[in-house]
């Protein structure tokens, strides 16, 4: 066998038994072969060592590689932005969905009935008769005028309340508020009703905290008047 082939087989560790005998015989007897072997061995081991260092650096570089992050849907920027947007919208919903002052007023306002002097057959036609008649017939502007005239001669809180109701039903909110605020200082038959309608005017004027105060004042009196509506209204404010 060729000497170089023998060397190759030796370093590949693939020598057969017979080739091994031949190899070691040459190594003992052939000085040229011995030189060849030693030179091959020197270069083989030198390259093995050099390559091992290169491979070590290569393996370290694999560990140093930035890990490619597996982007899952819930870690994408789009998800975060969407989540933030949804959160903001969710937080704003109560505000966005909060009914307007006008709609709250319209939802809860109703004309207070004439319980002071119902117009029935045989009703005594006193000075207030025409005013209440107009009030019952939803002619609130005229009713307010009549009540105003009457109140110039007599300071009747009950009639003043209906004067205020006439003003309110004719959308004269500021004037109605003045009358109700004056009545609020008094203790009279329509005290609870006064607080209720005063709070509705405050809601319409977007004076929410003042309205809440009036409604809570009504709560403290344990008044049955508009008790369910009061509770609902307070939740919405």
């Amino acid at each position: 066998m060729d000497k170089e082939d023998l060397l190759k087989k030796y370093f590949k560790q693939t020598l057969s038994e017979q080739e091994q005998k031949e190899f070691y015989l040459l190594l003992d007897t052939d000085s040229d072969f011995k030189v060849m072997f030693e030179e091959y061995s020197d270069f083989n081991l030198a390259f093995k060592s050099h390559e091992a260092e290169q491979l070590k650096d290569f393996l370290k570089s694999i560990d140093d590689q930035p890990k490619i992050k597996k982007t899952v849907w819930y870690k994408t920027p789009l998800f975060y932005y969407s989540a933030v947007a949804i959160l903001i919208i969710a937080l704003c919903v109560p505000f966005l969905m909060r009914p307007s002052a006008d709609s709250l007023y319209n939802d809860y306002f109703d004309t207070y009935p004439n319980v002071e002097q119902p117009i029935v057959r045989g009703t005594v036609k006193n000075s207030a008769y025409n005013a209440f008649d107009l009030y019952e017939n939803n002619r609130f502007v005229e009713a307010a005028q009549k009540f105003e005239v009457i109140l110039k001669d007599t300071n009747n809180s009950n009639l003043r309340f209906y004067y205020a109701m006439s003003l309110l039903n004719s959308s004269q909110y500021d004037l109605a508020q003045i009358q109700l605020s004056e009545l609020d200082q008094q203790d009279f038959d329509y005290k609870d009703e006064t607080l209720w309608y005063l709070s509705l005017i405050l809601i319409k004027k977007k004076q929410t905290q003042e309205a809440i105060t009036k409604l809570k004042e009504l709560d403290k009196s344990n008044s049955p008047f508009k008790s369910k509506e009061r509770k609902l209204l307070l939740q919405k404010l």
Partner: protein, 181 residues
């Protein structure tokens, strides 16, 4: 069957000095080996160092000796090398070392580690100073143990004589570098 084909394919690629196959093997068994090494009270840095040296020893056996594993897998072979390296690093005798039966004992896993003499060390250090073409040619001949004809077949050299003459010049260049040092 697929696993078997893939195993053979991987071995073939390792013998052909395919670095991508090396990277695949390295990544595939790293975590498992580091967990395995925890049994021997090694710190993570030592365990990783041993794993890298084991992968290198395994790879060099494929490249230099054209290793063909017929009775074991690459993983078993690699872990076998690693186990022996752990044994050496741990400096424990075999009775104290808990060698598990899940790794086959085999003589072929005991890789030869030669201490380089002074001349060999100088050669190794100066390999980086010769031209790339020289380095690659000598590498193919002395490291991959390819024959002259195999080098001709694998490279752009036109014939065996060209390879021989180029190789001769490259060896002289490297030897002269050692002498001049």
């Amino acid at each position: 069957m697929v696993e078997h084909i893939r195993e053979e394919d991987l071995q073939q690629r390792l013998r052909a000095d395919d670095k991508s196959a090396l990277e695949f093997i390295y990544k595939s068994y790293k975590s498992e080996f580091l967990n395995f090494s925890k049994r021997y009270d090694l710190n993570i840095d030592d365990a990783l160092d041993i794993y890298q040296d084991s992968v290198i020893a395994m790879y060099q056996n494929f490249v230099m000796n054209q290793l063909e594993l017929s009775n074991s897998t690459i993983k078993t072979y690699l872990f076998g090398i690693g186990k022996h390296k752990i044994y050496k690093v741990s400096n424990l005798n075999k009775t104290r070392l808990k060698i598990e039966n899940d790794i086959e004992e085999s003589e072929e896993v005991i890789t030869k580690e030669h201490q380089l003499n002074y001349y060999q060390k100088q050669l190794s250090e100066l390999i980086g100073n010769i031209s790339e073409s020289c380095r690659e040619l000598l590498r193919l001949f002395y490291y991959r143990n390819l024959t002259i004809q195999e080098i001709v077949d694998l490279t752009q050299y036109k014939d065996a004589n060209t390879v021989k003459s180029h190789k001769s010049r490259c060896m002289k260049r490297l030897k002269s570098l050692v002498k001049s040092k």
